[in-house]
Structures are given as C-alpha cells and as structure tokens.
C-alpha cells in the first residue's frame, strides 16, 4: 500500500483509492512524527499555555496557583525597582554588543577572504572564542582579565592609564560583558566568509577596470550584496543575546552586582523564579521577554525592505 504513496503525490485526482492510499501515508508519517509531536505538545505548546496562565497567578510551588489578574504585569512596570535596571542593562548589552560583534565579524571576514598560506589557521583562531565563549570557564577567565590587578589594567598601565576595578563599578561592569560578547564574533564571521565567497569575481573585476579603490568596492559591491547575511546575523544574535545568562551569572556570582548593573533579564528571571520561588511573576517576566524579542524581530523584518538587498527587485 505504502509503495503507492509517492505516486499518489503526483496524481492529484480525488478517488476512493487515493483517499485510502493517502490515509495510509498519513498514518506512516504521523507514526514517525510521534516523538516530535510529544515533544512539541508536552514540552513546548502546553507549557507555553501553562506559563501564560501562571503569569496571571501567584505561585510558589508549595501552594496551588492563586489568580491575581494582571497584577504581575502591573507590578513589573510600576512597582518593581529591579525590573527596569535589568531590562535596561540587557538592552544596552544587546544594542551595543550585537552591532559591535557584527562590524568586527564583517571586517575580519573581508580581511580573511583571500588566498594566502596559513589563512585557514587564522580563520580557525578567530573562530575559536566563539566555540568556547559560552562556557563557565571563559566567564571565569573574563572575570580575572578585568580584575583590578588583571591583564587588561596591566596593558592600560603601559599607556599611563590607571584602569578601574571594572567589575566593582556599575559604570564599567556591563562593558566587560559587552567585550566578552564582541570577543566571540567567530560564528557570524564564518557565515560572512561563506557569503563573501559567493560574490561573483567578475563584479570585482569590472569595478577594478572602472578604477574603484578598495573602500569604494566594499561599499558599492560587497556590502550591498551581503546585506541579507548582515540582517540574518543581526536578528539571530539579537534573539540569543537577549537570553544571555552564563556570563552575567558567573561575573556577579549570581547576584547581578554591582548595583544590578549586570542583572541580565534572564538572570533576574532566574532569581525571581528559582531563587525566590515566585513562579507566577517569573512566568510573566518570560512572556514580556518573548513579546520584546518578537516585537524587535518583527520590526527588523519590517525595516528589511529599506536596506536589505533583494535579488528579485
């Protein structure tokens, strides 16, 4: 029976025989899709509904959830003195580090996009921090780099600059997290490199014949052609950096100190949900995070037609 399934795809005639065949194909497909369906409903769809419900309740794991209407959301925006600092520092982190990492990734990718001995080794070295960067070990290393007596301040002292205790000051602590993100530009760089190799070389040859210099070539040929990749990298990085957790947790020992200046949004969510066991409030925080990410992604897509190259135009 099932051997007819692929024929049934082509012959789009409604007949009793086809219906039977189609039903059997459906059965086979859905049987194999069971693990995913269980995961989708059990771990994604139903928990999403549940967390939306919980966000309108008080819930501490010990007593049943208690309906409080929109209180959690009202408190978040009007009463919670830690919510705005955590949102602000996260937004600062995203909006500074994502453009920074993207620009560096593109610049290095353009530099590496050449035939030269040892270029593969260079590419790997630039990529390495991206692979290690999410680990606790690297966050620990970062904490020591920016210690009052750490490597960064030593280098600054060569130039006569007396570096601050970076992690003790609310003005400088968020910057260390930005630098940590920027250091991990390897993955977007690799994506840029792949895109740069796709650009037809006759475009460059034509520009060369016209006497364009390298800067002109970059801004008139390279950059416009890879705007779709810039867009992709920026959106994907934005989504993941809003969810950054490990570096802020490690650098501040899970507190968001000093003065909540490293209190990333997800760290605050963790503290509320799993430190204070205010699960209803943490669920509300999660839904606001989803709304922010979805809103910004939609905004990115809405503005895309003004600056992202579309070959069909």
């Amino acid at each position: 029976m099932s051997q007819q399934a692929s024929v049934g795809e082509v012959v789009r005639v409604a007949s009793p025989a086809r219906t039977v065949r189609q039903r059997s194909a459906n059965g086979a497909a859905y049987t194999m899709l069971v693990p995913w369906l269980v995961g989708f409903f059990g771990l994604t769809a139903i928990p999403m509904v549940a967390s939306l419900y919980l966000s309108f309740t008080d819930y501490s794991l010990l007593a049943p959830p208690e309906w409080v209407g929109a209180d959690n959301y009202a408190y978040m925006f009007n009463g919670d003195y830690r919510f705005w600092p955590s949102l602000t520092v996260t937004a600062f982190y995203v909006f500074v580090s994502v453009p920074l990492a993207t620009v560096v990734a593109l610049a290095v990718a353009v530099g590496l996009n050449r035939k030269m001995r040892g270029i593969g080794i260079l590419r790997s070295v630039y990529y390495l921090p991206s692979l290690l960067g999410g680990s606790v070990a690297i966050a620990i290393m970062w904490r020591e780099l920016f210690d009052k007596n750490g490597l960064v301040n030593l280098v600054l002292s060569w130039f006569g600059i007396d570096g601050p205790a970076w992690l003790a000051l609310p003005q400088t602590a968020p910057w260390t997290l930005v630098f940590l993100h920027a250091w991990q530009f390897g993955a977007p760089m690799v994506i840029f490199l792949a895109a740069l190799k796709q650009i037809p070389s006759d475009l460059y040859e034509a520009a060369e014949l016209d006497g364009a210099n390298r800067v002109q070539v970059f801004f008139t040929i390279t950059l416009p052609l890879i705007t779709p990749i810039v867009f992709f990298n920026v959106v994907m990085q934005m989504i993941t950096s809003f969810q950054a957790f490990t570096p802020a947790f490690v650098i501040s020992n899970g507190t968001g100190a000093p003065l909540d200046s490293t209190l990333f949004y997800t760290l605050y969510l963790y503290i509320e949900g799993f430190g204070n066991f205010r699960m209803g409030y943490a669920a509300a925080l999660a839904w606001v995070l989803l709304a922010i990410i979805a809103g910004l992604t939609a905004l990115a897509f809405a503005t895309a037609r003004f600056w992202v190259f579309n070959p069909d135009d």
């Binding site: 194999m32 693990p35 999403m48 990529y127 290690l132 070990a137 020591e144 030593l154 690799v190 020992n253």
Partner: protein, 270 residues
C-alpha cells in the same frame, strides 16, 4: 594587512594563553607576574583543584560526559526521523507542523522553562539527569531538525523511489536508504550537541542540585563563588577551567572543518 590579521589573531587567543600560564603559577605570582612565562613553574594547582571538593573532579567530568553522550544519542534518533518525515513524506497539515517547528527556532526557552520545571518537580525528577536528556529524545532542538531537513532534501529522490518500487515502506526507506547517506550531517549534529551540552549552564543549574550530580560547569561555578579577595584559590580555579575546555579544544582540532561548514550552511551559532 596580513600583519594586522596575525596580530589580531594573537590578541584573540592571548587571554586563553594567559589563563593557561596562570594555572601553572603559584598563588602569589598570578597577579604579580602577568608574563606568560611563570617565574616559579608549578603543577600543584591541578592536583589541588582535582581534590578540592569532597568528591574528585573526575566525577564532574563523568557526569558531564554521560549527559552529553545521552543527549547525542537522543538528538541523532529523534531529529533525524523527524527531519525525514518533514523532508520526504506528504501528509495532512505537514506545512502547519513544519511552520510550528521553524517557529521553535526563535522561541526563547524561558517561556516554557517554568512549567517544565514544575512538571519535572511533580514527577520527582529534579536532581536527576532526566530533565536534561529526556527532551533530546523528543526532537526539541529545532535547529538540528532543520539542519537534517536541509541535508535530506539534497539527497536525490530517485534513491527512495527505487526502494519504494521494490516494496519498501517509508520507515524502511528511512533506515536503509536515507540514514546511511546522512552520515556527514549526523557528525555535525553530534558535534554541536556535544558542544552545547558541555557548555550548558542554565538548565544544569536548575535541575542538578546535589554534590554528586554536579557537572563540570556547576563545579566550576562553586569554585568560582568560593574564590574571592579573602580566599585565594585563583590558581586552582584557572587549572580546573583549563581542564574543562580540553574536550572543546579536542573537538575544535579534529572537527573544525565540520564546525565551520555547519555554521556556514545553517547559521547555527557556534
């Protein structure tokens, strides 16, 4: 230009080299001598760190490896079969399910983590590895499903059609034809699953609480919070941090081409 690139590359790895050299320095030298070459070379930090807690550090490595290994098996089984269904079979509401799967790529998992935690807590599974590995058998990592779908679509359809003509059902086609041809993609999925599981901190922090269940990141975190101005255990902290990234470095040296290809073709974050 190449000189700048080389200099930049050095700048990129310098912090790593500094951490490694610091792990070989005595405690009082770490912040006094910032040169890469220790004045008084010592290997003491490694055995001291290894036995710092009640249980040896090897236990944390074993715990981390076990979770990563099971996660790899789970992802290989569940993501490939799901991807095969989406890539090859025609069935009712396929596009709807496929769109929902793709939406999962962008969904921040914080929206589901609280009910999931409550669920695992009610099932008395907190402080076991099940909340960390069970989801992998249910194809929850949409990135890998997507990667495999892309890969399977590139396999010529004539191969499965020939098998279908010979009377093989969809499952036989999957096992006999598609799966063997997927080896390169399976390697990529395994590598990335390993790296992500090895680096995972958030969910391990949530679900693993007792001392003998801890993984490498959790043990490092404990070491980190017990290290401060008062107690000087920097050398130990650096030594264990260096050890913890060795498996990642091994992956990097043996599979860097696959890593780079995987990122370049799917936009997976490394």
């Amino acid at each position: 230009m190449p000189a700048v690139l080389v200099l930049g590359a050095l700048l990129m790895v310098y912090p790593l080299l500094w951490m490694f050299s610091s792990s070989l320095k005595p405690e009082d030298e770490i912040f006094r001598n910032l040169s890469l070459i220790p004045q008084a070379l010592t290997f003491q930090n490694y055995p001291k760190g290894w036995t710092f807690f009640n249980v040896p550090f090897s236990l944390y490595f074993i715990n981390s490896f076990v979770i990563a290994a099971i996660a790899i098996v789970g992802n290989l089984l569940s993501c490939t079969i799901t991807a095969y269904v989406f890539a090859r079979l025609r069935f009712r509401w396929r596009n709807l399910w496929f769109s929902l799967m793709l939406l999962g790529l962008m969904l921040p998992h914080h929206v589901t983590i609280i009910p999931q935690y409550i669920m695992f807590n009610n099932a008395h599974l907190v402080n076991t590895i099940l909340p960390l590995v069970l989801p992998k058998f249910l194809a929850v990592d949409s990135f890998f499903v997507f990667l495999m779908v892309q890969f399977i679509r590139s396999i010529p359809r004539e191969l499965d059609e020939a098998a279908t003509m010979d009377g093989a059902g969809p499952f036989r086609v999957f096992v006999d034809i598609i799966l063997p041809l997927c080896t390169p993609a399976l390697v990529t999925v395994s590598i990335f699953t390993f790296v992500w599981t090895w680096n995972d901190f958030f969910s391990q922090l949530l679900y693993l609480t007792s001392g003998d269940k801890l993984t490498v990141p959790l043990a490092l975190r404990m070491l980190n919070s017990s290290t401060g101005e008062a107690t000087s255990t920097w050398g130990i902290l650096f030594a264990m941090s260096c050890l913890s990234i060795i498996p990642l470095l091994a992956i990097f040296f043996f599979f860097q081409r696959r890593l780079v290809e995987g990122i370049a073709t799917t936009g997976l974050k490394g």
